[in-house]
């Protein structure tokens, strides 16, 4: 039962990671990355590493995508002006 859960979560991680690679628009990519962070957090929790899971949840699905989105906004603003 537990092994099946691990396999399911691993597949979810693989699907989200593939989605993040296949998505070419950086702004959308940040959103997919956030979902990937969430699935990784679930994986770490299932593998009994809740400390790492929490860190992944906070950094991987919130701070990193936010920083990417802000960077995209800055770059696009610059592009629009020139």
């Amino acid at each position: 039962m537990h092994d099946a859960l691990i396999v399911v979560v691993l597949l979810l991680v693989a699907a989200a990671a593939t989605g993040a690679v296949l998505q070419r628009d950086p702004a959308r990519q940040a959103v997919v990355l956030s979902a990937l962070g969430l699935t990784l957090a679930v994986l770490f929790t299932v593998l009994q590493a809740p400390d790492v899971g929490l860190a992944q949840l906070a950094v991987g699905s919130a701070v990193t995508p936010l920083m990417i989105l802000l960077t995209v906004r800055k770059v696009r603003r610059k592009g629009r002006r020139e």
């Binding site: 092994d3 809740p50 400390d51 899971g53 929490l54 860190a55 906070a58 950094v59 919130a62 701070v63 936010l66 920083m67 802000l70 960077t71 906004r73 800055k74 603003r77 629009r80 002006r81």
Partner: protein, 252 residues
Amino acid sequence: MTRRLRLWVLTAGLLATAALYVAACTDLPAFGGSWHPYGDRAVRAALQQHTANAVSSVNFDQRAFDTLGEETVLFSSVLGTVVLLRRTRGEKRVAPGPAEVPAALRRYGLLVLPVTLLIGLYVIAHGQLSPGGGFQGGVVVATSLHLLYIAVDYKALERIRPLGLFELADGTGEAAYILLGAAGLIAGSAYLANTLPLGTFNTLSSGGTVPLLNAAVGVEVTSAVVVLLAHFLGQALEIESEDGAKDGGREA
């Protein structure tokens, strides 16, 4: 180097890495087994030190020096960001105008903000007892403040985020960790040694120096993430070149 030579070097490197990786993997214990030599020792040491969260015992007691390194990595990378993302000559700050926020988003954001803040503080305070600690809780606290930017606007965020104070707190958290380590030296044993009374197992004040180091990391990480995001937000929303046209508002 010609393209061909580069490819050969790449191939050799990849093959060597693959060989080493396979060799390392063949000696790994099987997945999910019951043989955990390091884990057993770490948990035994954690129990000896009255620290209920064995991971925090590793982070702030058994391997406290590694954590000093990690904290310093974050500190110096934020310092680098502050230097790189400052307003340079030929750039000006333009305050972004107020933005329309859907009523539902505003309600939801203002409801979730205090809850998230409380969860973050709880995670920091209970680092020595339950999963989490200064690092995880610090990031949660820092992100919770930014819900105000989503729910209201940039101006509201700026009001609850005195940047100077957070920069000061960032340095204070880092310094507190280093000085707490020196306290171990003064008390007679080694740098970052756990010299305080260990307290009663599974209470807030247990673990000796663990809750103190954990709190120092909590302060440092909270402020570091706030300062980091402040400079990203400043670049994305405020700073533009002198001759540039203003583009007010923000994207949803």
